[in-house]
Amino acid sequence: MEAAVKVLEEHVPKEELKSTSRGTVVIGTVEGDIHDLGLRIVASMLRANGFKVHDLGCNTKSMDFIEKAKEVDADIIAVSSLMTTTMPFMKDLIEALKATGIRDRFKILLGGGPVNERWAEEIGADGYGRDASEAVRVAKELVAGRSG
């Protein structure tokens, strides 16, 4: 894993890699989506930046995100989707958090090919990262916001 992160570091501005924030992240690709490459890159980058990461892998159901986040007392649930037809499952996750009365307990960070800032705002997410380095930056901001 460390070897892969070393390669990633060559493609990312050095200032993005300095460990300045720590927190716990539950990360995964939404239900129905098997694309895990971006997810694993973001997970590695978060680890390299001092986050404790619980990677649930691809095709993760909303309730599995929630159960894991509760179990590890996560700061952030980071969710990716690589297909337009799996993006609605991001909305379902946020609705499920609201329905169980724990929406405010976790910050929701979105990413993935078809996802954009507008979609993140539309469904009530807390942040969006267009690539791995931006996801790390936003994750740091979200954690800083929680403790601040």
Binding site: G32, I34, R40, G57, T85, F89
Partner: protein
């Protein structure tokens, strides 16, 4: 000897392959690709988008072959590795037919292998609009009708699924997606009927098997002369959805369109590793998706740049994509095309330039023309895409046939130099919607965009490209 049957492959994928954690499979790719790129002396050259080195292409092929033999493919549902012996892979390659027949009646086309620097025109010009958000129904029909009206188009790519069906958000793998898959296939048939080309070929590209299979129907859907797009997931991964499509396509008798490639900066490593993994990924399609059985064409070796934009119209993505294209063309007997993912949106000078660079590079590297209207722009604006960029891609493709790699490389460098600095993290200019580029009553391009089209052609003529189609 014959290559393993689909039933043997499914056994390895579902029941008998070695159980392995996905992260361990990823790390093995990384370590093997790093070692093989050094052992075979594969070196990325940022100054050469279109390599002219046959030895480098063959070295990359050998490295990709060794990587696939050592690593195999990974089934994400079962967590099992699907591996093949060297002799099985060589048998699988030997069984590939040199041609595939698509379409029916007046629209019947025979696709044949194009070689590196082949002087023959493309054997297929496959159009389409990739990943733009169109509404269900009439406007979707009109988009594909406008593409089918282009005489130079031999077929088109349709996918991924629309965002809504019956006014509701579509979720992957749900009953509504199955209904949408059926609806989309019937709308495409309506589009080609309206264009007066009822037997035109198309390939359906819904990610889930249920949606693609629901669209299969000889009367008013995806026919046996049409295709199902079956993708590998980066890196070297498959799943039950893709394998179900393979099994179904073999039973139904339709064409398999297979797709794959590697991502620079991921588990493949740098450009050299990504080129090698792209070739291994192609071999995974040959073996797991059964290129030797039934009609098939591929779109493989797309080596994409890192970041949010999976484009390959600049280096290092272009270098890797063209190197793998040459490696495949020199060592494989089937048809291999090229996806055209651009940074800029339709109806812009920059997108015309990107399409031109991709066409010229791909044709010289032995590829066919696959999905020329491709653009990943749904992030910014819906309904981006038209037939005009499809027409441009076809005309440049015919003009580029016969260019040698040295000339293609120089041309591409000049064209890329005109847009490379315009590429941002968000891509480039958003471009224009179908309704902005086309008169939706007459289904013809508007004057302003035709003038832009002519200007883009003129620019290429001034660089020495001769249009002949």
């Amino acid at each position: 000897m014959t290559a393993p049957s689909i039933w043997e492959v499914l056994d390895r994928a579902c029941n008998t392959g070695q159980l392995t954690a996905a992260k361990d499979f990823d790390m093995k790719i990384f370590s093997v690709a790093s070692r093989l790129s050094k052992e075979h002396g594969i070196r990325y050259d940022p100054e050469t988008p279109v390599s002219g080195d046959d030895g480098l292409a063959d070295d990359a092929w050998e490295a990709g072959f060794e990587l696939f033999e050592e690593v195999g493919s990974y089934c994400m549902n079962s967590g099992r590795v699907i591996k093949f012996e060297e002799s099985e892979i060589r048998d699988g390659l030997r069984e590939v037919r040199g041609e595939a027949v698509i379409g029916e009646g007046a629209e019947r086309r025979t696709l044949t292998l194009r070689g590196v620097e082949d002087k023959r025109p493309p054997s297929i010009v496959c159009g389409g609009v990739i990943e733009s958000d169109f509404p269900e129904g009439e406007l979707f029909v009109k988009l594909y009708q406008s593409i089918a009206q282009e005489p130079v188009i031999d077929g088109f790519y349709v996918g991924p699924p629309l965002h809504t069906s019956e006014g509701r958000l579509v979720r992957s793998g749900t009953p509504l997606e199955a209904h949408l898959g059926r609806s989309m296939a019937s709308w495409v048939r309506e589009a080609v009927r309206r264009a007066g080309r009822p037997d035109l070929h198309f390939v359906s590209a819904c990610p889930s098997a249920i949606a693609d299979i629901a669209g299969c129907n000889q009367e008013n859907g995806t026919r046996r002369s049409d295709g199902l797009m079956i993708s590998l997931t980066a890196e070297l991964k498959t799943d039950y959805e893709a394998l179900a499509k393979v099994a179904f396509a073999l039973d139904y008798g339709c064409i398999k369109g297979t797709h794959g490639g590697a991502i620079i900066g991921g588990w493949a490593g740098g450009p050299e590793g990504a080129a090698i993994v792209s070739i291994a990924d192609f071999l995974a399609a040959v073996m797991v998706y059964q290129h030797g059985i039934g009609p098939v064409y591929g779109d493989h070796g797309l080596t994409r740049c890192p970041g949010a934009l999976p484009i390959s119209s600049i280096n290092p993505g272009m270098w890797g994509t063209e190197l793998t294209g040459q490696a495949i063309a020199r060592n494989y007997r089937g048809v291999n095309g090229r996806f055209f993912l651009t940074a800029a949106g339709p109806g812009t000078e920059m997108q015309f330039r990107e399409i031109a660079a991709l066409c010229i590079a791909g044709m010289a590297s032995g590829r066919d023309l696959f999905c020329g209207g491709g653009v990943r722009r749904f992030k910014v604006k819906p309904m981006l895409g038209s037939a005009l960029e499809n027409r441009f891609h076809a005309e440049v493709g015919y003009a580029a046939a016969g260019l040698n790699r040295e000339d293609a490389n120089e041309l591409v460098k000049q064209i890329v130099g005109k847009y490379e600095k315009e590429i941002t993290k968000d891509g480039g200019p958003w471009g224009y919607t179908f309704g902005e580029i086309y008169n939706l009553k007459t289904l013809t391009p508007k004057k302003r965009f035709l003038e832009l089209y002519d200007k883009a052609k003129k620019e290429l003529e001034n660089l020495g490209l001769e249009f002949n189609h």
